[in-house]
Symmetry: C2
Subunit: 138 residues, 2 copies
DNA sequence: ATAAGTGCAAAGTCTTTGCAGATGT
DNA sequence: ACATCTGCAAAGACTTTGCACTTAT
């Protein structure tokens, strides 16, 4: 990949910035099309993957098996969300009121492991209020 | 699902206990076969899914798109692992020396959201020491 | 010219599902 | 008998890849 971005790559980045939240590759593709941009799905996947490898985009795989992508603004200190995920219906609600509970010790430890950390995810799994009566009934 | 377990369900649980670590449905299926158990892959998937819905098994989807399942021994206090995941090669190493950094506030908040929490995952993504020179080279 | 980017369709993976047969109470 | 469980193969969903074509330097 070169330093200069192609027009399609620029447009992908642009939309990622615009929405500033998680989006699936397929949804991003639809978005691009709707804005009159002719682009192939494979291209979207390919560029998202390379952005991910560069540490510019984070990926979160949800219960359905879909990957959601999001621009990483500031790799360490910036605001980011964790989620409550319903394992029954897949509903995923961000934990807006909660500070990230990560301690410094964790990142220190990661350095020991010689990993170059781009981002992290913290996800909670269980049943949402709607699914609880449906699943717990027996 | 009834209260009584079928022999195949018992066997699946047995192996999950034996290994006491994450395993994919496919690997579990192989394991069952190797122990001379004739069982279909679909059955493995089906039972893992129902265990998951009951909150007895946790699921973690890894970079390859595969799901790993693990018996939940004690939903709140028990030891559990978080991981460093290489987004290039998929290598996933447990953070053994790190305490779970979750604060009480997180679980309190989750109650507000009326979620019934079964388990959580905390995952770090980046490049492992082997992949760093490969990816960062340009 | 040369290297990188792209589209399309085919292939690949993992997982789910329909349905008929087997199992168990 | 009746409800549940199971196997198999087909279907589904998302993602990746091969290859030829286009674009940009």
């Amino acid at each position: 990949m070169s330093n200069k971005l192609s027009k399609k790559q620029q447009k992908i980045l642009e939309i990622l910035q615009q929405i500033d939240s998680e989006i699936s590759a397929q949804q991003l593709h639809i978005e691009l099309r709707q804005q009159g941009f002719k682009i192939g799905l494979a291209t979207v996947y390919r560029y998202l993957k390379s952005l991910h490898l560069e540490g510019l985009v984070q990926e979160r795989i949800i219960t359905t098996g879909e990957s959601l992508y999001k621009l990483i603004i500031d790799s360490h200190a910036s605001e980011h969300y964790h989620h409550l995920n319903c394992i029954n219906c897949g509903r995923s609600v961000p934990l807006e009121a909660v500070d990230c509970p990560l301690k410094k010790s964790v990142h220190q430890s990661s350095e020991l492991q010689k990993f170059q950390i781009y981002y992290h995810t913290l996800e909670f799994f269980g049943l949402c209020d709607i699914c609880q009566p449906l699943v717990n009934k027996d």
